[in-house]
């Protein structure tokens, strides 16, 4: 750890001692941690000196550190090491020169590239590429381009050619465009892939025109991918070319273009996409629909609404669907569609209303459910109202509207509205459902008790307990009691509160089944309070054995946790 400490706090005075560790196979890298970090000339001197005598991996490590420090004084030394027989050493030297990237380093690398043995040529090429990159960043793009071109013609692995080609394209700035497009046409797939990624970072707008032209002439497999590259340049993409490809030609290319429009399209693409969305080809129509749903821009929404009055048949259905998916405010237009004789249109309108209607217009959707204008719309209207109600930010106001409508609804519709109120949730909903469960109407009793029984918050506890005691029918009492016990089981609450709920449940239970459920909850949450309750439950003849087992289990768990349970227990006689 001393070396780490010196890395953070050491000065040049520490260098001599650190240098002594460089020949040690176990400690060399620790020393270099400090030597790379300590500023000044002394670490560089030490590393250079060590490089004169070390061999093998230790020498490689030292060279690497020289490269990290970008020690220009080491260039001559590194140039000598380029000729080392040890390929790892020569390779390390090449990469270090690439990191230093001054004129001398560049010269050394360029002179060695074509004569280097095959075992090291890849690293030499890497050094050249690194060097060129730094020169380009320093504004010496002409020299950088020369180096890149050299590498491109060398007998080196394809990946080096890929890197050099990218560099050669970008170093030339706009003049690199012909090389980029030439790379697109390479039969070598790795170079084609390189063209795709480089096109995404190529500056200016000329490249977008070139990509559009290339896409048209490329084989379908390649055109598919060129479109994606085009779409990754959304500010300057040639939209007309993408749109045209979406409309005609090879199916895969069309699919790629349709997907691309999701990112770069605008309202001008609407007519074409609408046409494709009703195409017989399921792949194309689904892709177009998804793109239409995601097409960016408020002007797209405006255009959809503007198209609505004159649309018919499948187109009208599609527009209504989009209004719902895009959450467009077009209530009047959608309501007009409810008067159509075509049920498919009416259903699409109802679904759209479910997604878009606001609280102040909810009454119109409620009316569709309550008044049954068209019997075969009933299910869709109910679903739509359910979706809309669940969306409302003011739950209480929504429930109030639904409850008011419930009063005047038919017997068959009342439970449906109650279900929807259940889906809204909240205090007001709980109140309405509780009242329904206690009403004289058998269907409402059934629906209300069922909804309460599966209520997903502890708020329902008082209503469930009351229902468990006073519901008109035993089966609803049981349902309510089970729901009550379920709340004690599922939700986070204090030990005392949970024990209280279980105690009340036991008091209300008339059947062994529910008593057992309460006992299960008691066992599940061991505490002093539940232990006390288990002990007192032993007094119930039906529960003596089970309560005894529960008490013992709880006692065991509490004792294992170090809790003192004396004074709580009493054994049965």
């Amino acid at each position: 750890m001393a070396c780490k400490h010196l890395a953070i706090h050491g000065s040049g005075d520490a260098v001599p001692e650190l240098a002594k560790l460089l020949p040690d196979p176990q400690l060399s890298s620790w020393a270099r941690i400090a030597l790379e970090a300590i500023p000044g000339r002394r670490p560089g001197e030490a590393l250079r000196e060590a490089a004169e005598s070390l061999e093998g991996r230790l020498l490689v490590g030292t060279i690497n550190s020289i490269g990290v420090r970008r020690d220009a004084i080491a260039v001559n030394l590194l140039e000598t090491l380029l000729k080392e027989e040890d390929a790892e050493v020569a390779s390390a030297a090449a990469v270090a020169l690439g990191n230093i990237a001054n004129d001398a380093a560049a010269r050394a690398l360029r002179e060695s590239l074509f004569t280097a043995p095959s075992s090291v040529r890849s690293a030499f090429a890497e050094g050249c590429v690194l060097c060129a990159e730094r020169l380009d960043a320093a504004g010496r793009s002409d020299v950088a381009a020369e180096i890149y071109d050299q590498v491109r013609t060398a007998d080196v692995p394809t990946q080096r050619i890929v890197e050099a080609t990218r560099g050669a394209i970008l170093a030339r700035k706009q003049a690199g465009l012909p090389l980029l497009m030439e790379t697109f046409q390479s039969p070598n797939n790795e170079l084609f892939q390189l063209a795709l990624s480089t096109a995404r970072e190529f500056p200016g707008v000329e490249v977008d025109q070139a990509l559009a032209a290339e896409m048209v002439s490329a084989a379908p497999d390649r055109a598919t991918l060129i479109i994606q590259a085009m779409a990754d340049r959304p500010k300057s993409v040639v939209l007309a070319a993408v749109l045209d490809s979406a409309r005609h030609g090879n199916k895969r290319v069309r699919l790629s273009a349709i997907e691309a429009l999701r990112r770069v399209g605008n309202e001008s693409c609407l007519p074409a996409l609408l046409e494709i969305a009703v195409d017989d080809d399921a792949d194309l129509s689904q892709a177009a629909e998804e793109t239409l749903a995601a097409l960016p821009g408020a002007s797209v929404d405006q255009q959809i609404v503007a198209m609505l009055p004159k649309a018919e048949g499948q187109n009208l259905q599609l527009l209504l669907k989009l209004i719902g998916q895009r959450r467009i405010d077009a209530i009047n237009g959608v309501y007009a569609a409810l008067d159509y004789s075509d049920p498919a249109v009416r259903h699409a309108a109802l679904t759209a209303l479910g997604e878009t209607v606001k609280l102040n217009s909810l009454h119109r959707l409620i009316s569709e459910v309550v008044n049954h204008r068209h019997p075969d719309d009933a299910t869709v209207a109910q679903q739509a109202l359910g979706v809309a109600s669940a969306r409302m930010p003011d739950r209480a106001a929504c429930v109030l509207q639904l409850a008011t409508a419930m009063e005047r609804a038919s017997e068959a519709t009342k439970p449906i509205l109650l279900e929807i109120i259940g889906g809204v949730g909240g205090t007001k909903a709980l109140e309405v459902i509780g009242d329904a469960a206690m009403s004289d109407d058998p269907q409402m009793q059934d629906t209300g008790s069922r909804l309460l029984g599966k209520w997903n918050s502890v708020d329902a506890a008082p209503a469930l307990l009351e229902l468990a005691k006073t519901a008109p029918k035993e089966k609803y009492q049981i349902r309510a009691l089970r729901g009550y016990i379920g709340l004690a089981r599922k939700f986070a609450m204090s030990n005392v509160e949970r024990a209280k709920m279980c105690r009340l449940a036991l008091e209300v239970s008339t059947r062994l089944e529910e008593k057992k459920l309460a006992l299960d909850v008691i066992k599940l949450y061991p505490s002093h309070a539940t232990l006390k309750l288990a002990v007192s439950a032993q007094q119930d003849p039906e529960l003596t054995d089970l309560a005894t087992i529960a008490a013992q289990e709880i006692e065991r768990k509490l004792t294992a946790d170090g809790s003192d349970v004396s004074g709580v227990l009493s054994r049965p006689q």
């Binding site: 394809t158 995601a294 097409l295 959450r327």
Partner: protein, 428 residues
């Protein structure tokens, strides 16, 4: 805002099949019948050939996600442990019904294979950056587990290397491809919360975690456990079995120990996305009252905090703007300051942070050469933020970072912590 921009998009034009991911938000991707070979298998030209490096516990999970994808052919595994090589080979062979999965002890042999297109890197954190860059130089794309780097210099070199080599890099920060996190980040990015004031990340610990040096034990035979290769770029220390597996060698965090990186690399990544992937914060303060506060150039604060979260599971994030806030976590749920923010949108709640979508995103980008969501630049910026925070934590004071020079301003001690020498013969 479109109602499904935060959904994971399907790529109909790619000849892939969506896997059974159980999310109602996604429907199966359609494969045109022309793309299918006999019996519906993906034709070889459309397959991505994958090798695995260091497939342990986490890697095993990632591998499962890869094997679910029909267009993946997993052909090789490399591990320094013989036992693990055998275990992973068995998984692959059973999956394909053959004996074809090759095994390697030295990952350079795996990288030498011309047929391998991409690698899954799930080694210990000390290897992530080095292995990723070697894979890139070997012409492979990679899915690399987090934390992807040990220090600021590694983060910068990683981004540079992926640019230079044109390779596709996906960090294992899979939350960017989960709908509820994506929705939360989109609210922040698109101004729905008003001007963004604060973004919060849960680091899961703000202490440095240093492995150090344990007593020497007899070193196993190389073929059983290759200790030298296991150490890799980490400075030498004697073999001790306690150092095998899991998170060792300064918890991925170089000289200072990566306390903030554990969940920070996930949560800060999401915070970065919320601030539109801008450059990392320019100021980092030592922790105070359980919070480490950093500040972006535009004044927005990045706050690492341990407590005070709504219980939404692990890796929670919170974004606060002038008019609203959102909080999300690994339970799949989000909590909003107002239901209006949901605006009737349906956001799929996918709990448990599955990596399936992230793997699919990676594979799609391998084909299109686009940038996946956890790309090298995004990972670089998120990791720099974590490393800089760790440096402030270690030094116990404020540090200021310059995103142009990539150095701390007039702060030699902090700058010394930006990088760390690698053990020979490894380099970045």
């Amino acid at each position: 805002m479109s109602n499904n921009q935060s959904q994971v998009h399907r790529r109909h034009f790619l000849k892939t099949s969506a896997t059974a991911i159980g999310a109602s938000a996604l429907a199966p991707t359609i494969i045109p019948s022309s793309a299918l070979g006999r019996d519906g298998a993906i034709v070889p030209s459309e397959r991505i050939v994958v090798g695995g490096i260091g497939i342990g516990r986490r890697g095993g999970y990632d591998l499962g996600c890869f094997l679910q994808q029909q267009d993946v052919q997993f052909v090789a595994v490399c591990d320094i442990k013989q036992k693990r090589r055998g275990e992973v080979k068995q998984i692959a062979d059973e999956h394909y019904g053959n004996q074809n999965c090759a095994t390697y002890r030295d990952f350079r042999d795996l990288l030498d294979r011309k047929d391998i297109d991409a690698v899954l890197i799930a080694t210990g954190p000390n290897w992530h950056a080095t292995a990723a860059m070697m894979a890139a130089r070997a012409g492979k794309d990679m899915y690399c587990e987090k934390p992807v780097t040990k220090n600021i210099a590694q983060s910068l070199i990683l981004a540079e290397t992926m640019r230079r080599t044109g390779r596709v890099f996906q960090a294992g920060t899979q939350r960017r491809n989960l709908p509820h996190f994506a929705f939360a980040c989109e609210l922040a990015r698109t101004g729905k919360l008003g001007k963004l004031k604060k973004v919060y990340a849960h680091p899961r610990g703000m202490q440095a975690m240093m492995s150090g040096w344990l007593p020497a034990e007899p070193e196993p035979e190389k073929d059983i456990v290759d200790w030298d290769m296991y150490l890799g770029p980490a400075a030498w220390r004697p073999f001790n079995k306690k150092l095998l597996d899991g998170f060792n060698f300064e918890k991925g965090g170089g000289l200072v120990g990566g306390g903030v990186l554990e969940w920070g690399s996930h949560c800060v990544d999401l915070c970065q996305w919320a601030v539109n992937d801008c450059l990392p914060p320019v100021e980092y303060n030592a922790p105070k009252n359980g919070e480490l506060v950093a500040r972006y150039e535009n004044g927005t604060k990045l706050i690492f905090r341990e407590k005070g979260w709504i219980p939404l599971g692990s890796c929670p994030v919170r974004f606060e703007g002038e008019t609203g806030w959102v909080e999300a976590g690994d339970s799949g749920k989000i909590v909003l300051s107002s239901p209006e923010l949901l605006a009737g949108h349906e956001v799929a709640e996918i709990g448990g942070y599955p990596a399936t979508y992230h793997v699919r995103d990676f594979l799609d980008c391998v084909k299109t050469r686009g940038q996946p969501k956890g790309n090298a630049v995004a990972a670089c910026n998120a990791h720099i933020a974590c490393h800089a925070a760790n440096i402030a934590l270690h030094l116990g004071r404020q540090v200021k970072y310059d995103n142009t020079t990539h150095k701390f301003i007039n702060d030699e001690p902090a700058n010394r912590l930006r990088s760390e020498a690698l053990r020979e013969p490894w380099r970045l």
